[in-house]
């Protein structure tokens, strides 16, 4: 895989991630309407510091224009899977940031941050296509940022006694957004399984930087990562994380090729 292939594959995957995210937002559009939860008339107070510039946000983020924003983002995501151009990436990043403002920072936390990081880096890479050093740097940044996200997450868990003792995971399982499920409850009650699973997660995340040592090891870690995010989707409903992180995996693999020589 060369630089151009890694960049293009990441673009396709983030385009898909953004498309799915935007379809979700369109499906819950009434909740941002004038009688919804996140009414613009309520939220706009938080932007009073902008003064007269707030008129711009009133136009872009008021209802129903915000729905057109969701729709535009879906179309741009689809376009990105078909064509590579810095203008598509720039507009996507702009829409994504506006939508983040509409939800007081993020709609879904980590997956929104990851989407913005990948989009921003790909935008710079695409806009500086004549400068291979910049492109290189951007793809390496995505790969290293993703690797560090797993490592930091593992390190934070390692420092917490309830994770080391296998007590945090059952608490998370019981607090799932989903209805109680017999097999999940049984797993949560199995102390040995919870202890092994907790340490499995901690070690997977802590050791993720080893993925950069060789391309073969990288593919193994990426396969584990997909399984990890898939499990998080099924147990906790975190589908967005799978696609947002997967968009960075071509860059992680490219990093392993570069660093292993």
């Amino acid at each position: 895989m060369d630089l151009e292939q890694a960049q293009r594959l990441s673009e396709i995957l983030i385009g898909l991630a953004v498309l799915f995210q935007s379809i979700e937002l369109l499906r819950i559009a009434p909740s941002v309407g004038n009688y919804g939860v996140w009414r613009w008339e309520t939220l706009r107070e938080e932007y009073s510091f902008l003064g007269p510039l707030r008129i711009g946000l009133d136009f872009l983020l008021g209802y129903p224009n915000v729905v057109y924003l969701f729709l535009s983002r879906a179309i741009l995501g689809l376009l990105l899977t078909l064509f590579s151009h810095w203008i598509i990436l720039a507009l996507l990043l702009f829409c994504t940031i506006l939508i983040a403002l509409r939800w007081r920072g993020t709609f879904n936390g980590g997956s929104d941050y990851m989407s913005i990081i990948v989009l921003a880096a790909l935008l710079i890479a695409s806009a500086s296509s004549e400068n291979s050093a910049f492109r290189y740097g951007c793809i390496l940044y995505i790969g290293l940022q993703t690797t560090s996200s797993y490592f930091v997450s593992g390190f934070v868990k390692l420092r917490k006694q309830n994770w080391r003792a296998g007590l945090a995971l059952p608490a998370f399982l019981r607090s799932s957004i989903y209805q109680a499920s017999p097999w999940v409850d049984n797993c949560a009650r199995n102390r040995a399984m919870m202890l092994i699973s907790s340490w499995g997660i901690i070690l997977f995340e802590l050791l993720f930087p080893l993925a950069l040592v060789s391309p073969q090891l990288c593919l193994g870690f990426l396969a584990l990562a997909v399984l990890f995010h898939f499990a998080n989707f099924y147990i906790f409903g975190l589908n967005r994380f799978l696609f947002a992180w997967a968009a960075a995996y071509p860059a992680v693999y490219f990093c392993s090729l570069v660093l292993s020589g």
Binding site: R27, Y35, V37, Y63, F107, A171, N239, R240
Partner: protein, 121 residues
Amino acid sequence: MLYYRSVEPEGEWKEAWQKPKRSWKTLFVNPEVNYLFACQSLLNQVENDVNELGEAEHTEFARSVSYRLLQNLVLYQMRMQREGSFKRYQFKLMAANQGVEQLDDVLISPVYEVDGPKEDS
């Protein structure tokens, strides 16, 4: 957890939403659950804000954006769950003590009038 009840006519406390069932079909698009995550983030924000307030600031909090979003959420969920008969309502936010079944009251609202069913076109 967020609860609401009708004050006129007098009613029991109800959960603001029901937990959905797991489904493989929601892998690509999962609007219901992601909406609930956003609602839960709002509840967490309100709980943090309340815990940081001193006693004197609680009445001021009712004018904050977070509180008003919470009130919007209650009204929206009441409409979603077809609570058309409510004339006056009240809501409360409860927090679970880690590892303990019992929930503590974080916030109990005053009684409000319901404006009537509304929808965007």
